[in-house]
Symmetry: C2
Subunit: 196 residues, 2 copies
């Protein structure tokens, strides 16, 4: 299984460089994940647990620095953008299932966020059944907010929101070897009260 993410942190403030570099800087010292950063995003490759907890914790650190901060992330098993890389070939569902791991659960992080995410189980005609099933499961979570066109909204503590992301990703991976989940998480938006 090849699992990873491309994620970006967007601090809506003049000191965005300090917030970004201060948050992602510590990743350079990790040896359990592969990290590559350019001007558009940071790549993290590792186990599903390592990938999700890393992005969550980097974003939490950025949030603690104050202001309105948004996370945009694409989590993927497989990499359709690189046809020459043997790691890109989607695995069989059985193999993906065997490598299933639980997302590490943490206590509330005391960071209130709004979020929306979309799930794309690739390569299977029954993908809508998987999506419907995962939406039904997400509705049981306390942080479920509502459906929107093309995505599902969550609101609540950052730890709970990431628990839904991780559970959705892992569950969908039982159906197909290539799963993508895209997510937007926002903390401190001044328009949050007007927002639906």
């Amino acid at each position: 299984m090849f699992c990873g993410t491309q994620f970006s942190i967007y601090p809506m403030s003049d000191d965005f460089v300090d917030v970004i570099l201060g948050s992602i800087g510590p990743l350079q010292h990790r040896d359990d994940i592969r990290v590559e950063t350019d001007d558009l995003s940071t790549l993290v490759v590792g186990t599903p647990n390592a990938v999700f907890t890393t992005v969550r914790d980097v974003y939490a650190e950025a949030c603690r620095r104050g202001g309105h901060v948004v996370l945009s992330a694409t989590f993927s098993r497989g990499c359709p953008g690189e046809p020459d890389d043997p790691m890109c070939v989607p695995e069989k569902p059985a193999e993906a299932s065997a490598s299933k791991a639980q997302l590490e659960v943490v206590a509330p992080l005391a960071i209130d966020v709004a979020a929306q995410y979309s799930l794309y189980p690739l390569g299977i005609p029954s993908y809508m059944d998987v999506i419907y099933r995962e939406i039904a499961e997400a509705k049981k979570a306390a942080c479920y907010d509502r459906g929107k066109n093309f995505c599902t909204r969550l609101k609540g503590d950052l730890s709970d929101v990431f628990a839904v992301f991780g559970r959705t990703f892992e569950s969908a991976a039982r159906e197909t070897g290539h799963v993508v989940l895209t997510a937007t998480v926002s903390k401190g938006s001044p328009s949050q009260k007007q927002g639906g």
Copy 2:
């Protein structure tokens, strides 16, 4: 065909509210598209041409206001997040093909950007063939930069970058009724010179 986008503008500056509202404000006066904005994103529903040109022009307006500004957008035909909406049922490829429209071509906008995008043709086992074909096509564009894990990088004038997005989306729609394209576009990043 149901076609639309959820997009967000992220100005990395203290006056982000003015930049965002100043850019998306004019959309409220349009009658050829449906627009809904909350604290996370703006929905635009319309023809592929209307959707892509609207997002491009809103982002161009935000860029002209200066500084480092990022666009994050998910373009979709179909809406897996809302199972109760009859518009969400993916169409047959033949119908999608019949409704194919060319993205309006414009002169260069004189806005230099870096971008990355991913294509997700849903519901078909041969989706990787479609992705490989579209990457091969993108490599012919002057604004093609390089592949990254999970996405493809572009750099150049905003108009050229959006031409690739629109062409990719339309071409993939000939193979399946449900296509998603996610994109990140960045202007004015201070780390662009260090970035690969």
